[in-house]
């Protein structure tokens, strides 16, 4: 009895101390907060400059973009946006829907297939696993340009040229080892006892993947989701090689049609459309980065 009371008291003390500590920390953090905001804010200006510059350029008359003039446009050419949208043979509505299709399918494909492979590498034992892992890492290291031609020939033989299949199918087959390795590193950080306990309770590896690993890996999955969205959305080399008909072009490919090295370009319109092409990326980023923060609630499980 006496013992249990002391224990209780001890706990109470600890709780009290912890409470005080937290209060002190909050105070200190508020004080520091202002300084932090100042620092972060000034720093953010450096980060923001290119966007402001692009925004300004998207509203400038064509011959002002390259001069040594101020960032402020002498007159605002809003028509860069409206005319830019319709300038090319096919309107940007089409390019956006093409890009959206490719990107959404690719993100889904990446998340599913890469998390599968990562789960195998990080949590399951099977023979030759080290060998396959090394090969997977190797695919990260090879310069893309030398496999471009054999890959093109392969997709040509499959009859996939000028379709989205060469862009999407590999993503369902975990072609991007970056994400596998990323997820492996995160999965390996989860306590082993979780799967062991579940396995004793009769959970299959499939159930463990879905019911334990996935929910606990939201920060990693959200990070992978953000990256794959951005990278696929901005990818330009693969669409350049595999898409022929302008009707099938994605947004980054279309953006490059505005600019010619040796003749008249349409820079204002290019900048205007570039600004618009950032909107989906930023939206996706803002939504998904919330999931990274949510990680903290989950980690309470540990």
């Amino acid at each position: 009895m006496a013992e249990s009371i002391t224990t209780y008291d001890k706990n109470a003390d600890a709780a009290e101390v912890s409470k005080k500590l937290r209060a002190a920390r909050v105070k200190r953090e508020n004080r520091q907060g202002l300084r932090k905001h100042l620092f972060l804010g000034i720093f953010a200006l450096f980060m923001l400059y290119p966007l402001l510059w692009m925004l300004a350029s998207s509203l400038k008359p064509e011959n002002e973009i390259f001069g040594r003039l101020s960032i402020w446009p002498s007159e605002f050419i809003w028509s860069n946006y409206t005319e830019g949208w319709m300038r090319l043979q096919v309107s940007f509505t089409q390019f956006y829907s093409n890009s959206a299709l490719v990107t959404i399918l690719s993100v889904i494909g990446n998340l599913i297939s890469c998390s599968f492979a990562a789960y195998a590498f990080a949590r399951l034992t099977f023979s030759w696993s080290k060998f396959w892992f090394a090969l997977m890492m190797m695919t990260l290291m090879i310069p893309y340009h030398v496999v471009l031609i054999p890959q093109y020939v392969m997709f040509l033989k499959l009859g996939w040229i000028d379709t989205y299949l060469p862009l999407v199918v590999p993503r369902f087959l975990a072609s991007d080892a970056f994400f596998i390795f990323l997820m492996v590193q995160f999965f390996r950080q989860l306590p082993r006892e979780l799967d062991e306990a579940a396995s004793i309770d009769g959970c299959s590896p499939y159930k463990i993947y879905w019911a334990i690993i996935m929910p606990l890996s939201m920060p990693a999955m959200a990070t992978a989701g953000i990256f794959s969205f951005i990278w696929v959305w901005e990818d330009f080399l693969a669409p350049l090689i595999y898409l022929n008909d302008i009707q099938n072009y994605t947004v980054p490919l279309a953006l490059r049609l505005f600019v010619a090295e040796d003749s008249q370009s349409a820079y204002g319109q290019m900048f205007a459309m570039s600004i618009l092409s950032l909107v989906p990326v930023l939206l996706f980023f803002v939504i998904f980065q919330k999931l990274i923060i949510k990680g903290i609630a989950m980690s309470g499980l540990k």
Partner: protein, 431 residues
Amino acid sequence: MKKFNRRKILKGMAIGTGGVAASSMFGTSAFAADERIRHFWWGNPSRDERTYKVIDLFKGANAGVEVSGETVGWGDYWTKMATQTAGKNMADLVQMDYRFLFEYVRRGALLPLDDYFNNTLFLDDFDKSAISGGIVDGKLYALNIGSNSQVCIYNTAMVEAAGAEFDPINWSHKDQMAVAQKISESTPDGVHGVDDATLDNVMWEVWSRQSGKPFYGPEGTVDGTVADLEKFWEHWAEMRASGAAPDAEHSVGKLGSKMAESGVVTQETAMSYMWSNQIVGVQSLSKDIIGAAMHPHMDGGDPGQFIKPSMFMALTRDSKNPELAVQYMNAWVNDAEATAVLGLERGIPASSKVRDALAPNFSDAEKVSVDYFNAIQTKVGTLSPPPPKGAGETQDAYVRVATNVILGNTSIKDGATAFIDEANSIIDRAS
């Protein structure tokens, strides 16, 4: 005066052979359904718009024919082209550049057009010199879809304000130096008379021709000499020292810049070197009126400039329907409607008939461009012999060495020797 003569001659040619060219390629429809050809070009927004219009015209006139228009920018074009070539999946028709034509022809990627001559492809109204640019090893591999020549563009307002005068067709390097110096003096700091040509491979080629030796000889050897290169670089070092041209770092900073960044457009320089089909583009970016002059001549030297096709259209070995492809090609250069849509955008049309038809509708800048083109006809030299394999690489090497020379990291003497040596070893390795 010259212009008038030129016109007359061209007209004479047109009458003499007139009427042979298939009157309207769009009028007949000899093709069964789902015949399809692909046309691949590098472009810009205006070029793409015009080209798609021509495709629509062609499809409208030939029911059941499908033409797939494929376009990307210049920088991306050659990567995609090489990939498709390797996959044996080239478009039926590709746009070709003079620099790459020989590489593709000699490696067997293009088909000669001689068999189609005068049955599908009619070139009676073409200037003979314009056709010859596409002939490799005795066969016609590529069709001229626009001609151009080197040009020295200048901002007329800046020249006038400086009180400088010169004859844009007949002037020497010395004249140019005087004009450029005058402009540099009369303008604020940081604004100069003329862009430095030290890093400009085309200018070096012109200089070499003026000195009596085209850079590549007829056998594909490097004929340009160390001595001439030294003289060329020394001339421009003098231009910099005299203030006529901007400092070295400025010029290196402009390497690979786009048209909109070029000195004449940003008004950092009053004169610069370009190709004549770019005049219209530069004018559209400039507030002041742009004039066109020839490259300055060398006292007692040969003609340096030459007229060459600015672009070609070529038939590839992967074409599944060469007959239809050539028919499309023919419409491109002969059909009244199609050529009207295309205008001068890709260069001056090689057909005199087409030029005459376009003439009444020229804009001011187009007039400058055409007048210039007509005026230089008798002043230019013949086209240099086709460059050997590896010529593209030599151009890169030139810029590399010249950068070190202009920045003073290498002496003019050492640089000139180094470049000629490197050019020789590049050509050796490529052949």
